[in-house]
Each structure stands twice: as structure tokens, then as C-alpha cells.
């Protein structure tokens, strides 16, 4: 576990800025000394470097408005950096939005099918795939429900299903559980963890919940207030699957405490 000072150590090979290209075959994403400012003059990110390897699930926590969403949008090419470089080797990238962002006029099944539909996959094939994915996210029996007929948690499951159906090598999550109630949220965390264990995409997960970050991730990255920079990078030791009760153990509390402390110092 490493907690970095404001100017992070460049010695760490995982985020070595000199060789931040996708040199290793397992590297899914490399963000290299990226700065992002908008036309409005807002500087969202300064000097952010971050790498993500296959099999890693990295959570980013930071105060609201510090540029977390911007970081995700840079990672998938929805935004381009003002300075620095973003590279990815992922053949397929999925993005899970904060609100489920389903097409209200499509059933759960057809929402999941959308991605393959846009790629021009044959109907029978994409339907079979979507049915399989819906079962995986616990929505068997709800294929023909419209989003309006589903609870918030179920809508988010559809959204996860739509992300999985693309068979992503890199999956980006922008506070997907932020709007859910506590019980649903804990349940979704457990299920996302199961899905991660099964699919082993490289995951980059934005959250404002420290406990969610620690519970889900192999690493937790802490960002400072705007303009965002990375102020801490914390390794999480446990293997998957992680029992829900892990959250109540002393070691969990200790790690979560360290993340919170880093957050508090740089808010």
C-alpha cells in the first residue's frame, strides 16, 4: 500500500510516466500526465497519471467536481486531453452511466441488445446473447419489461447487462450505484464483484463511497479537489470473492480509514 504525497512518486512501475505506452500486453489503459481544461476556463484535471492492467479493478474517489467523470470520459475518448496522453489497448470498452440511461421505449431485453444491434450483429445471435446476460444480472423473467416498470436497482442491472454484452476488456463506471438505496447498493456491489470475478475486465470505477471503493477494488485512487490530481493510491489486499461481512472487519476499517484520511487532507 502506498499513500503518495501531492507530487506522486514516479518510481512505481505501475504508473511509470517514462514508459507509459502500452508496453505490457496486460495494460488496458494508460493515462499519462493528462491535463484537461474546458473552453469555459475550468481546469478539471492537472497532471493525472494512472494505469490500469487487465484483471485490475480500480476505484477513484474524490470530492464532487474534482474531475472524476472527466477522467472516465477521457479514458474512453469522449473527451480529448488538453495536454498529455491517453492510450488504451482494449478492443472493447463499456461505460456505465450514473443513472441507468436506458432507452425508455425499449424493453430490458432490447436495451441490452442495443450494443450488438449498433454493431450490426444478426438478430438471433444478439438476442441469445442478451438473454444470457440478463440471466447473469438476475433479470430472468423481466426481459419484456420496460424500464418504467422496473425498480431503480433493476434498471441498473439492465445497464450492467448492456455493458457486459459488449464483452468489454475495459469497463468504466461513473458512480453507477450513487442513486440507489443502501440495501440495493450493497447487493449490487456483491453482484458486480461476482461479475468482475467471472469476466475479468479491467474496471475503472468512480464512487463517492469509500467503503464501496475498498470493498470492490484491487486498488483505490484518491483525487484532490479541483483541479483534480491523484493524491493517494491504495492497494487492497483481499482476493475475490469477498464476503459482504468483510466490510465489518478491522482491517477493512483500517484501509477505509486511510483512504478517508487522504480524502480529508486534500478536499
Amino acid at each position: 500500500m502506498t499513500i503518495l504525497p501531492g507530487n506522486f512518486a514516479r518510481a512505481d512501475p505501475r504508473r511509470g510516466t517514462e514508459e507509459n505506452d502500452l508496453t505490457t500486453s496486460t495494460r488496458a489503459l494508460a493515462v499519462d500526465r493528462v491535463r484537461k481544461s474546458f473552453a469555459t476556463g475550468t481546469v478539471a484535471l492537472t497532471d493525472v497519471s494512472l494505469t490500469l492492467d487487465a484483471g485490475e479493478f480500480v476505484s477513484v474517489v474524490g470530492p464532487s467536481g474534482c474531475g472524476k467523470s472527466t477522467l472516465l470520459r477521457l479514458a474512453c475518448g469522449l473527451e480529448t486531453p488538453t495536454a498529455g496522453k491517453v492510450t488504451t489497448s482494449a478492443a472493447s470498452t463499456s461505460y456505465v452511466f450514473q443513472d441507468a440511461t436506458l432507452l425508455e421505449w425499449r424493453t430490458a431485453l432490447r436495451n441490452v441488445e442495443l450494443v450488438d444491434e449498433l454493431r450490426g450483429a444478426p438478430k438471433a445471435e444478439r438476442r441469445a446473447k442478451a438473454l444470457g446476460v440478463l440471466e447473469l444480472v438476475g433479470l430472468a423473467g423481466f426481459e419484456h419489461h420496460h424500464p418504467r416498470q422496473l425498480s431503480a436497482g433493476m434498471r441498473m442491472r439492465v445497464s450492467l447487462g448492456r455493458a457486459l454484452v459488449a464483452e468489454p476488456e475495459l469497463a468504466l463506471f461513473d458512480e453507477p450505484f450513487g442513486a440507489l438505496d443502501e440495501i440495493t447498493r450493497l447487493q449490487m456491489q456483491t453482484e458486480l464483484q461476482t461479475l468482475f470475478r467471472l469476466k475479468r475486465f479491467a474496471g475503472l470505477f468512480i464512487t463517492h463511497s469509500v467503503s464501496e471503493a475498498v470493498y470492490l477494488s484491487t486498488r483505490v485512487v484518491v483525487m484532490s479537489g479541483r483541479p483534480g490530481r491523484i493524491v493517494a493510491d491504495v492497494d487492497i489486499p483481499w482476493d475475490y470473492p469477498r464476503a459482504p461481512e468483510l466490510r465489518y472487519e478491522a482491517e477493512f476499517a483500517a484501509i477505509a480509514g486511510k483512504v478517508s484520511a487522504a480524502l480529508g487532507q486534500h478536499a
Partner: protein, 272 residues
């Protein structure tokens, strides 16, 4: 994984939806009839009563006269045809115009002013010109309908096409959707409820347009608007009131049909 629960929607049969939609209108008509009786018997003196004969007398005299009712219903049918054709053309043109505008910011900036001008020019000022250009029969009447009902189609469709969330657009961008896919699978479906709203407004305006057209363009077989003018000139009060009432009912029916269609289609569309 847990067993999720769903909020199930009650499914109403289409007819019931339509009736439920029509009930308030029927109530309003009953109210109007009551006011009518009130004015006739309580406000007007017997000498003045010919200005507003009570409904049963006005309708009784006209409905019992096939020589009057035959032409009147024919005229109503012709007006209805004009209104429907005008509405169809307005829908196609309006949706098409909005789709073109929705495809780029500059297209919208270039084209929207024309729509606004169309809306702000008093249509009655244009009507004589249309007559001079197109003659005084069927095509001119249809054109009046189109002009009068076009703007709500354009405005509502454009609003709908632009209503998809930024996140939904990002989703399409990330999946490398083509412009056509974005239009057909995102913007247009998102616009369906607004298009129906536009359709409801436009259908009412189209009826007005058809009657205005009848009123001004008297060449060929008359529409109901033409007869209204005729009855007024001849002071045929019974016929006039019956024709006005039929016209009003026609408008109500058109509105009710589109309101029911709106609820049925949009409801199904969104799984309500």
C-alpha cells in the same frame, strides 16, 4: 441473485381509454347546452329569441329536413377530407423539416426562422394570396390547412428529437453509431411522445384551417365553412346553429381520436 420485484402496470383496453378521454368533453358539451338554454329562455326576450333558438328547436327543424341535412353532411365530409389530407401533409413536411434541423446546429439556425415566420404571419392575411395563386378550390383549401397546422408539428418534433439525454448520446457515440442509427434508434423514438403532442394540436388547427379555406374559397362543391357563410347571409338560424354544432362536434371527435391515439400509442411505447 435476489428476486427483484416489478411495478406492474394496469392494462386498460383501448376503448375504455378512449371513452375515459371523451367523458370530460361530453360533460363540457352538456354544460354548453345548459348555458344555451339559459340564455335563450332567461336572457332573451321572446321577441329576441330568434337570435338564439333553443337547441331542440334549432336542431329539430334542421334534422327533420333531409333537403338541408343531405348537403350539410356532404359538405362536412368534404371539409373533413380537406382537414385530414392537410394534416397528413403537415405531418410529413413538419417531421421532415424537424429531422433536417435536428441534424446540425447550423441547419437549425438556418431553417428555424422560416418556421417562426410561418407561425407569426397572420394566416388570414395570406389566404387571399393563396387564392390568387392556387385558385379557389380544393388545393387552396388544403394549403391553408397545411400552413396553419405545420408549425406545431415542426416545433414539437424538433423538441422531441432533441430530448434524448446527453448520456444516451454518449452511449451511441461510444458504440460508434452512424448518424442514421442515432436518428432511427435514439432521436426519433425519443420524439414519439412529442410528435403525438404536435399531432393533437395540429389536428385541431387543421380543422380550423379547412373551415377557413371553405369560407374563403367557394369554388366547386362547398365545404361546411361555405355553407356557414351561406346560412348566415340568408339568416337561416336553425341551419346555421346545426352546422355550427356539427362543426364543433367534428372538431371534438378529431381531438378525442388523437388524444386517445396519443395515450394508447405512447402508453404502449413506454410500457405504461
Amino acid at each position: 441473485m435476489s428476486t427483484p420485484t416489478a411495478v406492474d402496470s394496469a392494462r386498460r383496453p383501448w376503448l375504455r381509454t378512449a371513452l375515459a378521454g371523451a367523458a370530460p368533453i361530453v360533460g363540457a358539451l352538456a354544460g354548453l347546452a345548459a348555458i344555451w338554454y339559459g340564455v335563450t329562455y332567461l336572457v332573451l326576450s321572446p321577441q329576441q329569441r330568434f337570435l338564439l333558438p333553443p337547441p331542440h328547436e334549432a336542431f329539430g327543424a334542421a334534422l327533420g329536413n333531409p333537403q338541408l341535412m343531405g348537403p350539410m353532411l356532404d359538405a362536412l365530409g368534404r371539409t373533413m377530407a380537406v382537414a385530414v389530407i392537410g394534416l397528413l401533409i403537415a405531418v410529413v413536411l413538419g417531421v421532415g423539416y424537424a429531422v433536417v434541423m435536428s441534424q446540425s446546429a447550423w441547419a437549425e439556425r438556418l431553417l428555424y426562422p422560416y418556421a417562426v415566420i410561418l407561425q407569426t404571419i397572420p394566416i388570414l392575411a395570406l389566404v387571399p394570396l393563396i387564392g390568387i395563386w392556387l385558385g379557389y378550390s380544393f388545393p387552396a383549401r388544403v394549403v391553408v390547412c397545411v400552413i396553419i397546422s405545420l408549425f406545431p408539428m415542426i416545433a414539437n418534433t424538433l423538441f422531441g428529437l432533441q430530448s434524448a439525454s446527453a448520456a444516451a448520446h454518449d452511449l451511441f457515440t461510444l458504440n460508434k453509431a452512424t448518424r442514421w442509427q442515432r436518428l432511427v434508434k435514439l432521436q426519433f423514438p425519443a420524439a414519439v411522445p412529442s410528435i403525438f403532442t404536435g399531432l393533437r394540436t395540429a389536428s385541431g388547427l387543421s380543422v380550423i384551417g379547412a373551415i377557413v379555406g371553405d369560407f374563403f374559397f367557394q369554388q366547386g362543391a362547398p365545404g361546411i365553412g361555405g355553407l356557414l357563410r351561406l346560412y348566415t347571409q340568408r339568416l337561416q338560424m336553425d341551419a346555421l346553429f346545426t352546422a355550427i354544432t356539427l362543426t364543433a362536434l367534428f372538431g371534438v371527435v378529431v381531438f378525442a381520436v388523437f388524444a386517445a391515439l396519443d395515450r394508447a400509442v405512447v402508453g404502449r411505447w413506454y410500457g405504461r
